[in-house]
């Protein structure tokens, strides 16, 4: 199943989803696709004007372009996701999209989809980390 991860660039969540047999939907995939599709003479830009315009599907023109550009990457992923894992209160080194407005909107779009979602909190010690992995494992195995 396709599992959207939030933060969308969390390597830990990506790895866990993949490890338990699902397809992680992440920033890395979206950016990869854009890098691969670049033309030879294209500057090294991952998000193009077309992406930002596509982001209008998720937020109006009054919303800054950086938010719309981000939503253009994750919006379609959330739409195609079968489930999601959302980690709250994590430090930015764990995974971060760099924009609080985009964060809020991503969480909202996930909720609006009505798909199964596992909400987890960032573990502060080893016990919590073990618990987090167990919770995630149980959730992902339950999706099969």
């Amino acid at each position: 199943m396709k599992v959207f991860i939030d933060p969308p660039n969390s390597l830990v969540l990506f790895d866990l989803v993949e490890r338990f047999g699902h397809e992680p939907l992440s920033t890395m995939a979206a950016i990869q696709e854009r890098v691969d599709n670049l033309e030879v003479d294209m500057p090294p830009m991952n998000v193009t004007l077309d992406d930002v315009v596509k982001g209008l599907k998720y937020a109006g023109v009054e919303v800054p372009s950086g938010v719309r550009g981000r939503l253009a990457l994750w919006g379609p992923m959330i739409e195609s996701a079968d489930a999601a894992i959302v980690m709250d209160d994590c430090p930015y080194s764990f995974g971060c999209v760099g924009c609080e407005r985009s964060n809020l909107m991503v969480k909202y779009l996930i909720k609006r989809r009505g798909i199964p979602v596992l909400y987890v909190t960032y573990p502060e010690d080893e016990d919590q980390a073990t618990n987090f992995v167990a919770q995630t494992k149980e959730f992902l195995e339950g999706l099969k």
Partner: protein
């Protein structure tokens, strides 16, 4: 009967515009109300809504919307407004509009304001909300009866239509000049075409910017804003009176995007801050190309917008783009196509983000006769709009249709 418009807002009090909002509501016989919520309701409402803004007043907006959605607060219409350029508020505003529409049948209008907001800017929107609430039976009218006339005094053109027993029997339009003189001119020509004398006319309906002046002059039975009147005219002309539709009216001075259910608007946006996204820009373009605006569409259809740069939020910069592009020796056809595409793109970016587009899409108004613009709108939206016959007469047809409800 005082119509209660529930205000869901952030920042109005601190932007010096609250008085203007209330003044606009009062002037159309409505009253602004605020759904009561307790502090304890707020966190629950935010959790349920799923978007947790950092600004507490946005949280309050959500809680107020939840009260409306749950039927715990009695209101007739909803006005959702936040500060222009606040990203968080813009996100909440649009999603709350969707939330209210999904959970109630209340008409909704959204607006982002600056400190320069004046009551007059909100008048048509407030009037439309009140019309939708107070004239439900009239707006449900699907057939025109008797002999009636509709007069549409628009910013660019004035139109008249004479209808008899659900048929258009006379029509005329002219560029707007003096409001009464222009309307008198088109009315006389439409009556002549219909073979009808003025004394045979049973009712007149007026709409558009000059509606009040014309209403008084011609003793109209119906004097109504253009959002509801144009919607009725559009669905009548397109024969889509039942079900849902989106009406796009790119006007001479402002644009309207209206969603309707059974011909009655339930959400609309009305733009017009900049003429770069209106028919006026196409007029300016055709003037610069030295062609009549009626020929612009066909010329644009032969061009490719990708070959000419024309992308501006402002008509002044838009014309600069136009001059530069022509200076580079681009083909007229490509420039015309680029101008049409630019208008369509801006309507999409500025108006259609505030509503949920429903199908079919009906494009109306004088600019719908510019085929290149219709093609551009179709390309931007991924679906070619329906352009009904006499699409430029929507306001006048709506006026004639609705005024027959007073017979």
């Amino acid at each position: 009967m005082t119509i209660k418009i529930a205000q869901l807002s952030c920042g109005t009090e601190y932007s010096s515009v609250q008085y203007e909002i209330e003044k606009a509501a009062r002037s159309v016989g409505a009253k602004i109300v605020y759904p009561d919520v307790s502090a304890a309701d707020i966190d629950d409402a935010v959790k349920r809504f799923g978007f947790n803004p950092r600004s507490p007043q946005l949280k309050l907006m959500i809680a107020r919307a939840a009260k409306l959605a749950d039927g715990q607060y009695d209101a007739d219409a909803v006005f959702i407004t936040t500060c222009f350029r606040c990203a968080e508020a813009a996100l909440v505003r649009n999603e709350l509009r969707r939330f209210v529409q999904e959970n109630t049948r209340l008409p909704v209008v959204t607006y982002s304001f600056t400190e320069r907001l004046k009551a007059s800017q909100l008048l048509t929107r407030m009037e439309a909300l009140v019309t939708i609430v107070t004239r439900k039976e009239l707006l449900a009218r699907e057939r025109q009866t008797g002999i009636t006339v509709g007069l549409d005094s628009g910013s660019s053109t004035t139109k008249a239509v004479v209808m008899e027993d659900n048929r258009i029997i006379g029509k005329d339009w002219t560029p707007s000049g003096d409001v009464v003189a222009s309307a008198t001119h088109v009315l006389e020509n439409a009556l002549k075409m219909a073979g009808i004398e003025m004394k045979q006319v049973e009712a007149i309906g007026t709409t558009g910017y000059g509606r009040f002046t014309l209403g008084e002059h011609f003793h109209a039975k119906l004097v109504q804003e253009e959002l509801t009147v144009n919607s009725k005219g559009a669905v009548w002309l397109a024969d889509r009176q039942r079900g849902e539709a989106t009406i796009i009216d790119i006007g001479g001075m402002d644009n309207k995007a209206i969603t309707v259910r059974d011909g009655v608007p339930d959400n609309f946006t009305m733009g017009g801050i900049c003429a770069g996204a209106s028919g006026r820009f196409l007029e300016m373009t055709s003037k610069r190309l030295k062609v009549d605006v009626t020929e612009l569409g066909a010329i644009a259809d032969r061009g490719d917008w990708r070959n000419a740069k024309m992308n501006s939020y402002c008509s002044v910069f838009g014309i600069q783009d136009l001059v530069t592009t022509l200076g580079e020796g681009k083909r007229f056809e490509d420039v015309a196509a680029a101008a049409c595409h630019s208008v369509a793109e801006q309507v999409y970016e500025q108006q259609l983000q505030e509503i949920d587009v429903r199908h079919p899409i009906i494009q109306v108004g004088g600019t719908s006769l510019i085929s290149g613009l219709v093609s551009a709108v179709g390309e931007v939206l991924g679906e070619r709009p329906i352009v009904p016959p006499d699409s430029q007469y929507i306001g006048a047809v709506g006026g004639a249709l609705l005024s027959s409800g007073f017979l």
